[in-house]
Amino acid sequence: MARAEAPLAREAFDRSLLLVTPGALFMLLLFVYPFLYGLWLSFTPKTGGALANYAHFFTTDNLWPTIWTTLKLALPATLINVGLALPIAFKMRVKTPYQRIVTTVLVVPITLGTVLIAEGMLLYFGPKGWLAQFLQFFHLYDGAIRLTHNFTGVLISLVVSGFPFAFLLILSYITGIDPGLARAAATLGADPKAQFRHVYLPLLAPGLAMCFCLAFVQAFSVFPSAVLLGSPAGPTRVISIAAYEAAFEQYDYSLASAIAMIMGAVQLVIVVAVLGLRNLFYRGPVVGGKG
């Protein structure tokens, strides 16, 4: 073992590192440089000192509340997605004849994209949409149906487009857990509920945290559906709309960059907090011994 490793250790340069170059270049040109450029731009406002844009954002009444508006959409959407995906993925962890069908149906929205989903939802959930017609035809609900052009519409679209991601992620985490552990727990007196609580949940927790972060970041940057399905002037005026307006209606790229930086900072705070919580849990192989 040690002798086999010796020549490797003496190698002056590991040439497989070269494989990293295309990716690193790509990141540098298309992410790091634009990001740093935007950061610099945000500190060079049209008028005022370096921090004028940030001061403007936090003192203007149609700007700073967009943080809360976005959080109020993104956090519930993320919780719903992770919360819905967990039990379904848990049920789908064992191979059954209909497992593949269900998984396929649940994942289809991924292929559609947000704009197509938004257009479809306008037809289906709209005041004269199929759902309204159906409910009114059978007199199941006779009041006005207002599921689009408001907060609810955007929330539904975030769930529709975000669920498949959460589901696929959690499914891959769950199927990685050795089912023998639950069997062992059963022989020790754990009923299915206790098996979930004491075996699956703690082993899934790090994965759930990761899934929450990805789903949250995706939901927080909501833009098309907030415009198409929401009321972009009022309750769904999310932070990305504010940035869009600054950039393409006021042509103030500097302010828009500052808003984008604030957006990134808010996401980072939430992600760091959740990943910090993740460290409280066991992280490591999720099998119970030698395979």
């Binding site: 020790l188 004491h198 192989p285 011994g289």
Partner: protein, 358 residues
């Protein structure tokens, strides 16, 4: 469950699986036996013989397709595993990777609602029994394979189950550790005074550990008997083959006298002991290499042949002898022999077991 039980009764326990083309096959067919408190039972057989299926049926991890399991007067085959309360040791240990050793061992007690104060000394006692005191706060991933196996045993015994089920618990350990842990398992079994059902494909393990051995093939129990009986008096040719009767020759039946049978073939004439009623003109004789001997010309019940291979094995050698008709006999012998020599293989009449052809 009742730890002071007196017996576990399996009655025609059957488990069917759907086969590849929709045809059902019996992984376990009508296993019937009674296990008494204090007994150590080994389920022995090659892989795919149904021994693990039997164990999982008893544990409740597989539902039965037929039959009943009774613990004294309680029917238990309808209960889920968590209500049967048998301790089980899995082949891959199945330790909870996120729990320290003491939490793994204490899991069963926690599920039973035992308070932390009451469970701590019991966990300590179980860990002492498997000689793991001092490792309480390690995670399973920080332990060696042998230690993990002992944690798995401690976890199964701490709940003081009426029955301990072990599924090839030693197959992941190296040879030395296997023999040590084997002795350990027997000691723990005796100390607890409960019943143990132990699944293995290793005949040495079964012979050294068990009070009774169930030899299985194709889901059917072939013989349920003491290690001595299984070793010396296999009930049929399958069991004989599995228990190390490596020489099996199919020959013509010349005559029967009591349970003595005279068999013959090209260049061979042997007298053996009949184990099952014969039918037809042909029969098989099964001989263990260590029970045959290299004899001299003219010895009684001997077969002449040429030494074709000698495998040195320390105390003795495994000698392959080819008869003029081409059959190869394996014999253990301490005599110095060389390939190419002519010799005779001698077999005691009572150790040449005769079975009908299957």
């Amino acid at each position: 469950m009742n730890a002071n039980f007196s017996e576990l009764k399996l009655d025609a326990v059957t488990r069917r699986f759907a086969g590849a083309h929709g045809a059902a096959f019996n992984a376990l067919s009508e296993l019937t036996m009674t296990i008494k408190r204090g007994e150590f039972i080994a389920l022995l057989g090659p892989s795919g013989c149904g021994k693990s299926t039997a164990l999982n049926c008893i544990a409740g991890l597989l539902p039965l397709s037929g039959g009943t399991i009774m613990l004294d007067d309680t029917r238990i085959d309808t209960l889920p595993p968590e209500r049967r309360g048998f301790g089980m040791v899995f082949q891959n240990y199945a330790l909870f990777p996120h729990m320290s050793v003491d939490r793994n061992v204490g899991f069963g007690l926690r599920m039973r609602g035992v308070s932390a104060a009451e469970s701590a000394p019991r966990v300590a006692k179980a860990l002492k029994m498997v000689q793991l005191t001092g490792q309480e706060h390690k995670l399973p991933g920080q332990l060696s394979g042998g230690q993990q196996q002992r944690v798995a045993i401690a976890r199964a015994i701490v709940i003081e189950p009426p029955l301990i089920l072990m599924d090839e618990p030693l197959s992941n350990l190296d040879a030395k550790l296997r023999i040590e842990t084997r002795a350990e398992i027997r000691r723990i079994h005796t100390e607890l005074g409960r019943a143990t059902i132990y699944v293995t494909h290793d005949q040495d393990e079964a012979l050294s550990l068990a009070d009774r051995i169930v030899v299985m093939k194709d889901g059917v129990a072939q013989q349920i008997a003491s290690p001595q009986d299984v070793y010396l008096q296999p009930s049929n040719l399958h069991v004989a083959r599995f228990m190390g009767y490596r020489n099996v020759l199919e020959l013509d039946v010349e005559g029967e006298e009591g349970d003595r049978v005279t068999l013959s073939g090209p260049g061979i004439r042997l007298v053996g002991t009949r184990k099952l009623p014969l039918s037809g003109k042909r029969a098989c004789v099964a001989i263990r290499p260590e029970e045959a001997a290299i004899g001299d010309a003219g010895a009684f019940n001997a077969v002449a042949g040429e030494v074709i291979n000698v495998e040195y094995g320390g105390r003795d050698s495994l000698v392959d002898v080819r008869t003029p008709a081409g059959a190869v006999l394996h014999v253990r012998s301490a005599r110095p022999l060389r390939a190419g020599e002519m010799t005779h293989v001698q077999v005691p009449v009572e150790r040449a077991l005769v079975y009908p052809v299957t």
